[in-house]
């Protein structure tokens, strides 16, 4: 528990009482789209063993799904 309870779209402040909850209206806060991801380096990892992954070729093709879905999306 993080000390908050949801009631519908509102939040109950834990300092309110059970019978008289203090309800705080939720504020819609826009978070900007800037993205910060720290550099993740894999340079220290030296490949020694076998390749990663097992490959399988399946007798299946997705072209009819792609055509039908593309048509549906186009008609929206």
């Amino acid at each position: 528990m993080n000390g908050k309870q949801n009631i519908g779209d509102q939040r109950v402040d834990p300092q309110g009482s059970f019978f008289k909850p203090q309800i705080r209206k939720r504020k819609n806060v826009e978070i900007d789209e800037k993205k910060f991801v720290t550099e993740i380096s894999t340079n220290s990892l030296e490949k020694k063993g076998n390749d990663l992954g097992t490959k399988t070729i399946i007798n299946d093709d997705v072209s009819s799904s792609v055509s039908k879905l593309a048509l549906l999306k186009k008609n929206k």
Partner: protein, 334 residues
Amino acid sequence: MAKGLDVGTSFIILASESEKGKVIYKDFRDAFYVIKPATPIATKMIEKGLTGKVFVKDADGSFIILGKDAIEKAVERNDSAKRPMHKGVVSSKEKDARRILTYILKEVSGTPAEQGEKLVFCVPAQPVDQEDDDFDVGYHEDVIVKLLTEVGYSARAINEAEALCYSELEKDDYTGVCLSWGAGMVNVCVMLNGEPVVTFSTTKSGDWVDRMAAVATGETDSIVQAEKEQGDFTIGHPNDNQVLAAVASYYDRLIDYTTKQLAAAMEGHKSIPKFKDPLPVVVAGGTSKAKGFVDLFAKKLEENGFPLPIKEVRHAADPLHAVARGCLIAAQVM
């Protein structure tokens, strides 16, 4: 050309197309196990013992075994393998998680056929059984977009269950309900004519079964996982093997829990339209491969008051690859 990538808690699966238009899958178990040798002699012995396995050597001299070899090595040592992902996103529990996940994803996705090749990867939806503050997919998505962009892809995220709908609902005019039962979560999408109208997830799935069965029997999670994947059991049936009996029992509870969550989340949901025909419900994911899963799931949906009319409950044609296939379809339509 385009590719689909299922970034799962248990498996990373790349879907691409051959020159003849056949679908190619590349699967890799999303696990690692670290061995740190104490002496130079131990280093040589360990390296020799790892011949034929998938592993890397770290700058500090430790060996990081990857994939199913990691699970086998952990079981050999009566230990549990580590996961770079937890409940559908990059794990905050493991300090090496981001680095290992980055390495695995770069190796599995390979280099693009051309600069800017489209790649669609899946992310989980917000859970309905967990506080919003405890789960967010934003950072996980940014990490994956960044590393795939560095490799040269034009990468975009899609909801996991939405991708499953694109793979499995073609003959139903892309209308129905799909559930992806992964290791960490169950992802759900209700789709109407190719448009996802509701997506959400629940936070108990195959890993929860392993954990609970491990607690009940005193075994490690990796041993339970290995027994579960190799052993013969049917959900809801007694079993002479203590571990499998516990697994079967917790599967029953998992399905009951999830169907109750589904009913509660969908009942009266303002975004769900009035469907004129009963809907297909499709299940996929490694957790759904257990014997008796689909039958019990269908029974529990009815018992626990699933609010939409159901035409049939069926398994995906290829339950382990269906999400990656859906990502590939989305990448080609994009």
